[in-house]
């Protein structure tokens, strides 16, 4: 079995376990942790989807926040049905992301990264300046229907699986190959008559839909949102999940989100040392795991594969690399 196939199994198993835990666990604490893990997976996979084109989209955090505020306003003020609010929580950031992409995706690499950073922080400043949505202190009273409460974690895990599955399927499709081609050499893609900027905008819009739904689910899980929840750190944590899990395969984002969310649950008990420990863990993991956690799994499967076939795995590695 190839290592990519192994990764498929690892990713699917992880999501399956989450779904089972969310469906059958009775403990409130477990359900809460499952909920955070699931939302973090969604953020990480949405960020990674744009990374397929080679761009680091820090504005994932901004679209996450726009989804949260949009859905929050819709349910808290207009009492729009919950499902519709979640859907609009995805669609509104998606539309904004198209406009954002139209202006900013003319640039790439470090410029796009800095602009998406600045966009995220400026959107956050706009929240703090808008008194009607609570300014600095944020919004309260964002409720999902009461009957849904026991099943909320299950719903979030289900939405995550649906969206992650769709993005994974897109990655494997012809569209996904196009995205990777842009990452490798956008000039070549342009030279065969394809509109690189348009493809990138579509990619950004799809990822922003997923991020927006994530934000909307987050807002209804928390019931209270404030500008501080949507700083660029949301994207940074998402990137940490992707990098520490391993960016080659979507399973990396899933494993990374699970590992770091559990770690964060642990370090949170250290009070104000929380940031210090979490930041330290990210730095250490970056330094000792260049290919992330799935890089370890890959090496392990290659090791066993090599033993079974009685040969070295080197030639295969050379072809993959």
């Amino acid at each position: 079995m190839s290592s990519a196939r192994w990764m498929d199994i690892v990713g699917a198993t992880a999501l399956g376990v989450l779904l089972l835990l969310a469906a059958f666990s009775q403990e409130t604490y477990t359900l809460k942790v499952i909920l955070w893990i699931s939302l973090n997976i969604l953020a990480a996979v949405a960020l990674r989807f744009v990374m397929l084109t080679g761009e680091l989209n820090i504005a994932t955090a901004a679209f996450w926040g726009i989804g949260a505020y949009a859905a929050g306003i819709l349910t808290a003020w207009y009492e729009i049905p919950f499902t519709l609010a979640i859907l609009l929580g995805g669609l509104i950031p998606m539309v904004i992301s198209v406009a954002f992409g139209y202006v900013t995706l003319r640039t790439k690499g470090p410029y796009f990264m800095l602009i998406s950073f600045a966009f995220t922080e400026v959107v956050r400043l706009i929240y703090t300046q808008t008194e009607i949505i609570g300014g600095n202190s944020g919004m309260i009273g964002i409720y999902s229907p009461r009957w849904l409460d026991p099943y909320y974690s299950l719903l979030v895990v289900a939405c995550t699986i649906l969206l992650v599955g769709t993005m994974f399927w897109l990655e494997r499709s012809a569209f996904g190959r196009l995205l990777k081609a842009i990452q490798n050499n956008d000039a070549v893609v342009e030279s065969v008559g394809l509109d690189v900027q348009k493809i990138k905008i579509i990619c950004l819009a799809l990822a922003s839909f997923a991020a927006g739904v994530g934000g909307a689910l987050f807002a209804h899980a928390n019931r209270v949102i404030s500008p501080g929840d949507f700083s660029f750190l949301v994207a940074v944590y998402a990137l940490a999940y992707v990098k520490i899990g391993g960016e080659k395969h979507v399973a990396g984002a899933i494993i990374g989100a699970i590992a770091l969310t559990l770690l964060n649950q642990y370090v949170i008990s250290f009070g104000h040392y929380e940031h210090l420990l979490f930041g330290g863990a990210i730095v250490v993991a970056m330094l000792i795991l260049p290919n992330g956690l799935i890089g370890l799994i890959e090496r392990l499967t290659e090791f066993y594969g090599a033993r079974r076939s009685g040969g070295s795995s080197r030639p295969q590695e050379a072809i993959d690399g």
Binding site: R106, A118, K243, L287
Partner: protein, 294 residues
């Protein structure tokens, strides 16, 4: 035209610190092809060292205040160089020219160093008394002598960096590496050594900016955040890696900040800056000075 003069004076004062901060960032990008998100932490470290040493020094040594400031400045730059060398050897050395890897490393460092700074200096804001008292009026614009001193020092530091880059061998090597790494290496320039120097000079610029801001504001560990986002806007406008672009961009951002800060408030000024950046990108995506490939 008192108001115009006042706005120009304010622009110069705000801009002088932005110039130093953004120059360091753009220099590091030029040489290492990475964006140092932890730049604000070096800035904060220097500001905090100056702010906590000044009162102690003036109480114990009995020297004139400017001498205390000088000693504190040297200590702050020393601390920045030590932290810069450590972070380079432990981390950034492995992430040269790796935008995503260095990004997450530097943000991990932000979280970590914020924790360390709060631990050492506590989160209490630290004001210090003015080094030079009094107010001076220039062409109808009023400015405290203190701020004038900061402008003077910032111009001096910027000039020193300019001379270093233009006149010395190290400066030529830094510029060569920024223009074309491979060609520079073919000429016998040691890329790794030069990028280390580039990194140190870059964080020292952040440290100088922080040391200069300490007498003008109340220092606390999170002080670098605001400067970081404005520095990003500056280098998007000026073009990444461009020295004149960083200077012009800093003055432009400072001008917008002083005008909108005067009529509205500072947050509004930042939002307006970003809108201008977006319009700017539509018209001129390569930046003010940029001829760099994007």
């Amino acid at each position: 035209m008192d108001l115009v003069a006042q706005l120009v004076v304010n622009t110069l004062q705000i801009g002088s610190v932005y110039v130093l901060f953004a120059l360091g960032l753009t220099l590091i990008f030029g040489v290492m092809q990475i964006v140092n998100f932890a730049h604000g932490e070096f800035f904060a470290l220097a500001a905090l060292v100056v702010a906590s040493l000044m009162p102690a020094l003036s109480a114990s040594l009995g020297l004139p205040l400017w001498a205390d400031f000088l000693i504190a400045l040297v200590a702050a730059i020393g601390a920045v160089i030590i932290l810069g060398a450590l972070t380079y050897w432990i981390g950034f050395e492995r992430y040269l020219r790796d935008l995503v890897g260095s990004f997450i490393l530097s943000v991990g460092l932000i979280l970590f160093l914020q924790g360390v700074l709060v631990e050492i200096f506590t989160a209490t804001p630290r004001p210090i008394e003015p080094i030079v008292p009094g107010t001076i009026s220039i062409l109808g614009g009023r400015i405290t002598a203190q701020r004038l001193l900061v402008i003077g020092l910032a111009i001096a530091f910027t000039t020193m960096l300019y001379l270093l880059l233009q006149k010395t061998k190290l400066g030529k090597a830094l510029r060569a590496v920024a223009q074309d790494r491979e060609a520079a290496m073919l000429q016998g320039i040691r890329y790794r050594r030069i990028s280390f120097y580039g990194w140190l000079i870059g964080v020292v610029m952040a440290g100088l900016a922080g040391a200069l801001i300490a007498p003008l504001t109340v220092s606390q560990p999170a002080i670098g955040g605001d400067y970081l986002i404005k520095a990003f806007i500056i280098i998007i406008i000026g073009g990444l890696g461009s020295i004149p672009g960083a200077i012009l961009g800093a003055l432009l951002v400072a001008f917008i900040e002083s005008v909108f800060g005067y009529y509205y408030d500072l947050t509004m000024a930042t939002i307006v800056m970003f809108v201008i950046v977006m319009i700017f990108l539509l018209v001129r995506p390569q930046g003010l000075m940029g001829h760099v490939e994007r």
